[in-house]
């Protein structure tokens, strides 16, 4: 009888898992204990071992798909068996629901293409690689997951890596005398996720960046007053930062340019009615982008509080996993102004369609009127947008709208 393969529930709070890799394909023979696929939650990665012997009759979710826990992801049985009964209902198939992908996998957009599996038919699922080959691969930065091993049972041997390295690796060896001049550090899970999503973003979208700057004399004046009030000990005064003010301006601008407040989903655009503002936060575990949901309904004080709260949660590691999915936000702000960055090209957090990079403030000569020139503080704004979703004209107008909001900002 055909047996369904069920996505396990990893922990109480986990509702969905992402299939990161299928090690076995439809039609292949598998044995109990063979690793069928790997999957991950926002916190950890797991391998799924087959609990039955048989043939994979069907695979119901492609790599990269986010799957509700306890959903049926594949069917194992004898060839020719009827598998209808075990098929999962359409409603839970990824893509029909909101594509709740934390950080999109490299497979986004081309699920249907069969990937070459590095493990030959006789292998037991996981990547078989000798310790020596693994060591050399890591040293040379070669991704061995796609290499076909030539050793017994398809084990990847050192020579396989060297052969692969001749194609992929063109630099000269860093090591000449056998003494390691560097240390190899395995990637953390978060790092892997970031790497995959950033790479996927650049590979799978058409992004470009416009730069503009905005006069922030009003903003700086407002900030000065807030600081004054704070140092005078006025309890009612919230510590509203420049970033809070800029986010506030962005939210306002977004309400006028809803096409930037959107997700690009291959065949359709999803325009959000509310602004769910993503904010890039540096944490010890790496970059995280929590969302402040319904930010357009907040006044500046509660926006300030919410931004601070999600940033703190990320740093503490207590952030609600739902909020750090790339689908949780409709638009993202990444502020590098504190670090003195004058201009940059932020990378879009797919499937969002745009991201605003906020740069440092530079005093620039400006016409103060009456033929008087003086130095005016300008903040740099770098808007990266996905040209698939938005054209250059509207993007520029949107950026100009942000500039306008900033320049006319008052508390």
């Amino acid at each position: 009888m055909a047996i369904p393969v069920i996505m396990p529930k990893q922990g109480q709070s986990v509702e969905t898992c992402i299939i990161t890799k299928w090690f076995r394909q439809k039609g292949e023979q598998v044995k109990t204990g063979d690793i069928l696929f790997s999957y991950e939650t926002d916190k950890a990665a797991f391998d799924f071992e087959s609990a039955a012997d048989g043939t994979i009759l069907d695979i119901l979710y492609p790599e990269g798909a986010e799957v509700p826990v306890l959903a049926n992801v594949a069917v194992i049985g004898s060839p020719g068996e009827i598998i209808e009964a075990t098929k999962t209902s359409d409603s839970v198939v990824a893509g029909k629901e909101e594509r709740a992908i934390l950080l999109p996998g490299p497979e986004i957009g081309n699920h249907d293409e069969k990937r070459q599996i590095p493990v030959p038919e006789s292998g037991a699922g996981r990547i078989r690689i000798s310790p020596r080959a693994r060591r050399v691969a890591e040293k040379k930065g070669i991704d061995y997951s796609k290499i076909r091993g030539s050793g017994p049972n398809g084990r990847i041997l050192c020579s396989d890596i060297m052969n692969a390295g001749q194609e992929a690796y063109t630099g000269s060896p860093l090591v000449s005398n056998g003494v390691d001049e560097f240390t190899d550090k395995p990637l953390t899970n978060v790092r892997k996720l970031i790497a995959r999503s950033m790479h996927a973003s650049l590979m799978n979208s058409a992004q470009l960046t416009h730069h503009m700057s905005a006069d922030v004399r009003g903003l700086l004046e407002a900030r000065r007053r807030i600081k004054e009030n704070l140092s005078a000990g006025r309890a009612e005064q919230a510590d509203i930062t420049l970033n809070d003010m800029i986010c506030y301006c962005v939210i306002k601008a977004l309400s006028r340019f809803p096409e930037a407040n959107s997700h690009f989903l291959d065949d359709h655009m999803r325009i959000f009615k509310s602004v769910h503002l993503g904010i890039a936060v540096d944490t010890p575990r790496g970059l995280m982008v929590p969302a402040v949901r319904n930010a357009d309904s907040m006044d500046i004080v509660s926006l300030s509080r919410s931004l601070k709260s999600v940033a703190d949660d990320c740093k503490k590691g207590s952030i609600d996993p739902e909020l750090i999915k790339s689908t949780a936000a409709s638009f993202t702000v990444s502020n590098l102004g504190n670090y003195g960055v004058e201009m940059f090209t932020p990378v879009i957090n797919l499937p969002q369609t745009a991201i605003l990079g906020v740069c440092t403030i530079i005093n620039r000569p400006a016409d103060l009127g009456n033929n008087t020139f003086g130095f005016v503080p300008y903040i740099g704004l770098s808007l990266t947008y996905d040209h698939r979703a938005i054209d250059g004209g509207p993007a520029t107008l949107f950026l100009r709208e942000i500039k306008k909001e900033i320049e006319s900002f008052t508390l």
Binding site: S130, P131, R132, A133, R135, S150, G151, P152, R155, L157, C158, S159
Partner: protein, 822 residues
């Protein structure tokens, strides 16, 4: 068999009867009055005193074990204490006449014997010598403890030293006689002539024979007393020891001053029980143990049963027996009847004997009876005897207090020095000769026929023109061993060699051919077919200070010497607190062609036992150099040789095996062929199969193998192997040992651990099948063949283009074989 003795059929086929003489049983019948001419009053009282000390010592231990308290001092001793309450007269009588040159060996129940021997030695030594011994024993540490605040005489001090050293040893304290590493059943103190007790029943039965051989062969003064229990008469090694000790050759073939019997008394402390089994009436059939002597040799071993409940009867017997030994008519068998009032151990519920029986023996208690006799004969007043008893109690309480204090008597500190015991496993010395005399030899070495013949041999397997040398002209592996051995015989006067067919035959495999001409009997002789005793006597010989080569003709016979090889040889250096050395080389020949019980490679078994060095050379150059090192050292070495390659010539060391002396350090593997693609580590003769495999790998598959010969199993320097694996990433390990539990598995595991990140495949072991070894014609299905090595590489390490594997090395097959245990 020597040609000098003809066996005439007319003589041996003549009808006759074997006549046995009479064996005296309890014939001593002198009174104290009659003994006054042999003993002074002091002597009489001293005998009493020594018995009381032992009684109190054992009583104290009994109370500690059963109540955790003695005279208000609390202590818990979890370790063993096999007490000899009741056997004091036997112990004191045994030791009374012995000097410090006389050695005693003991059993698990020998506290009384070592105290008696110690007290006897203290009485006989002058104060300067006595103090000197105490002062220099482990830096005088134990002495300083008992000396503190003590103002009595040196002899009184020495008694305290003896009791403290023994008790500290029993309680595993560093001030014990053996740093607490021997313990109750193994305590000994060689400066007083006290050699090891032995926790294995009958363990001293052959070791003591080796000690007697040491005295005889090296003309050392003194006799040897082997104190073992009556139940050990059931042990093979005891019978083997007796056989070894009573060989005809001592009186018929050994020459000149070496002619004559061994200076040895097998003194059976016959307490009538072996644990709970009654030797008389239940577990043995001799009735009276002394009867055994009648069957051993025409002298009936001068056997006698004596009353071990009367110290004077025992002393009388030892005086008479010593005269026999001095006339070189030993050995002697004494059946010293005694009784153990205490249990086998403190947990003994005496379920195997009646209360009435114990009470009957208590009624004739040796100390009480002897005391009453002394009082009755007017030798000592009762008050004096009582005072001796109460003094003993106070003395023991004082000693106990010192011993149980962790400040005064700490244990070895394994926290600050975690290697303290490890560093004592081997003595690791380099000693040319164990004594300075001129070695006894029969001719100058250069006149020896074998030496002359070797001179004409080609010391490399190819001649000067690069052509293979014929077997007859080749310097062979057996010549390499011979050269090392004869060299040492001419250097070290203590070196002696024995085993089966060692002399006229020249060793079963002609390694010793030529030694018979060079050496007198007492340095090279044939042993009985007694593998246990061949090794056991070597142990006794070695621990007394002699160097020895014992030979086990076939590795398969090693099992016959299991206790000696596993329990005795490896233990005594560390259990002595590293005081004694064990310069013993056991040559073990690994056979072939003769099937299941004559072809096994058991090197893994001995390598498993801590305390043995294990060597297995495969080339003439290595055999000579490693034998030189083994014979230069002071540690036990099991030296494996392979019968497959005794005739092999030197193929690696150019220009050939050096004529002079050289050493190859134990533990260094040797690269026999260098290569970059795969490492093959071999043990023993398998080297040559592997070299064939390496040729095939190179020729057919373009794979350049690096072949490393382990040469030694223990110790082993892994660095060259790791270095090779770092280069090649692949390793096969091969030897003729059956693969399950083979030492190769140990090596494979260690390589995995030390070079994991460099491995391109798991280390693969190619060993023999886990079968009986079939007949020679089927051996290629059993022992590793070159093709097996190729198959293993192809199947488990890296597929070889175009290779078709002839072996099933599949996952399923491996599981199946393991599941089935074959």
């Amino acid at each position: 068999m020597p040609k000098s003795q003809n066996i005439n059929p007319e003589d041996v086929r003549r009808p006759q009867f074997i006549e046995f003489g009479r064996i005296p049983v309890n014939q001593y019948n002198l009174t104290i009055e009659q003994e006054k001419k042999n003993f002074t009053t002091d002597d009489f009282v001293r005998i009493y005193h020594d018995m009381v000390i032992i009684r109190e010592f054992e009583t104290m231990l009994n109370l500690i074990k059963t109540t955790n308290e003695y005279r208000g001092i609390s202590y818990n001793h979890p370790g063993p204490a096999h007490l000899s309450i009741g056997q004091e007269a036997a112990a004191v009588g045994m030791a009374y006449t012995l000097g410090i040159d006389d050695y005693i060996f003991g059993s698990h129940r020998s506290h009384g014997e070592i105290l008696a021997k110690g007290l006897s030695a203290i009485h006989k030594l002058d104060e300067d010598n006595l103090y000197n011994i105490m002062q220099h024993y482990f830096g005088g540490k134990a002495l300083s403890v008992v000396e503190k605040g003590f103002s009595g005489s040196v002899k009184e001090l020495a008694v305290r030293f003896l009791l403290y050293g023994a008790l500290a040893e029993i309680f595993a304290r560093e001030n014990g006689f053996n740093k607490g590493l021997g313990g109750s059943m193994h305590a000994f103190f060689t400066p007083f002539g006290i050699y090891p007790n032995n926790a294995i029943v009958g363990g001293s039965g052959d070791i003591s024979v080796g000690a007697a051989l040491y005295k005889k062969i090296n003309k050392k003064p003194g006799i040897v007393v082997c104190n073992i229990g009556d139940a050990s008469m059931g042990c093979g090694p005891v019978w083997e020891g007796i056989s070894f000790a009573t060989m005809d050759q001592y009186t018929k073939l050994w020459q000149g001053e070496y002619m004559g019997g061994l200076p040895l008394i097998f003194n059976f402390m016959d307490n009538l029980y072996g644990m709970g089994g009654q030797t008389m009436g239940e577990t043995m059939g001799f009735g009276i143990l002394a009867r055994i002597g009648a069957g051993v040799n025409p002298d009936m071993m001068h056997a006698e049963r004596i009353d071990g409940y009367n110290p004077l009867a025992v002393i009388d017997a030892f005086r008479r027996k010593r005269e026999i030994l001095e006339k070189r008519r030993g050995p002697v068998l004494l059946d010293t009847l005694t009784y153990r009032i205490s249990g086998h151990s403190p947990s003994d519920a005496s379920s195997y004997r009646s209360k009435e029986e114990i009470e009957a023996w208590q009624k004739v208690d040796s100390i009480t009876t002897y005391g009453e006799q002394l009082a009755a004969a007017g030798v000592a007043k009762t008050e004096l005897l009582d005072e001796i008893r109460s003094d003993a109690g106070e003395l023991l309480a004082h000693i106990l207090k010192l011993t149980v204090s962790d400040e005064i008597s700490p244990r070895l500190d394994l926290i600050s020095d975690p290697d303290a015991i490890g560093s004592m496993m081997f003595s690791n010395q380099s000693v040319d000769r164990m004594d300075d005399r001129k070695p006894d030899v029969l001719m100058p070495m250069e006149e020896n026929p074998r030496v002359k013949s070797i001179k004409t041999k080609e010391r490399f397997h190819l001649d000067s023109e690069g052509k293979p040398v014929s077997k007859a002209r080749t310097y062979q592996l057996r010549d390499g061993i011979f050269e090392a051995v004869i060299d040492r015989f001419y250097k070290d006067p203590t070196l002696a060699a024995w085993g089966e067919e060692n002399r006229d035959w020249g060793g079963a495999f002609a390694v010793y051919r030529g030694l018979t001409e060079a050496l007198p009997y007492h340095r090279l002789f044939n042993s009985p077919i007694s593998e246990g005793a061949i090794v056991g006597t070597a142990i006794g010989y070695g621990m007394c200070g002699g160097r020895v080569i014992a030979e086990i003709m076939y590795c398969d016979f090693l099992g016959r010497s299991g206790d000696e090889v596993f329990n005795q040889l490896p233990k005594w250096q560390a259990m002595s607190g590293n005081l004694i050395k064990m310069p013993v080389v056991i040559r073990v020949s690994v056979g072939s062609k003769y099937g299941a019980q004559h072809s096994q490679d058991w090197s893994s078994l001995v390598a498993h036992i801590p305390g043995l060095k294990v060597v297995f050379p495969a080339t003439p150059y290595d055999a000579k150099g490693l034998m030189n090192s083994a014979l230069q050292g002071t540690d036990p070495v099991i030296f494996f040789e392979s019968q497959r390659i005794y005739d092999i010539g030197e193929m690696f060391h150019k220009p050939g095996v050096p004529e002079g002396y050289y050493e190859i350090p134990l533990g260094e593997p040797d690269i026999k062929k260098s290569g970059n693609d795969i490492t093959i580590l071999t043990i023993g003769a398998t080297l040559y199969q592997v070299l064939k495999a390496a040729d095939i790998l190179q020729g057919k598959y373009g794979m350049n193998a690096e072949v490393i010969d382990a040469r030694t199993l223990v110790p082993f320097n892994y660095e060259p192997v790791i270095e090779s694996v770092r280069k090649t990433g692949k390793i096969v390990l091969a030897s003729d040992a059956s693969s399950r539990g083979s030492f190769l598995k140990e090596m494979a595991q260690t390589v995995t651990e030390l070079a994991f990140d460099y491995l391109d495949a798991p280390p693969v072991v190619v060993g023999s099948r886990n079968w009986i070894i079939p007949a020679h014609e089927m051996e290629t299905y059993f022992f590793p063949q070159p093709g097996w090595i190729i198959d293993a590489i192809h199947e488990k390490i890296i597929p070889l283009k175009g290779h078709k594997s002839g072996s099933d090395l599949s996952y399923e097959k491996s599981l199946k074989l393991n599941r089935e245990g074959v």
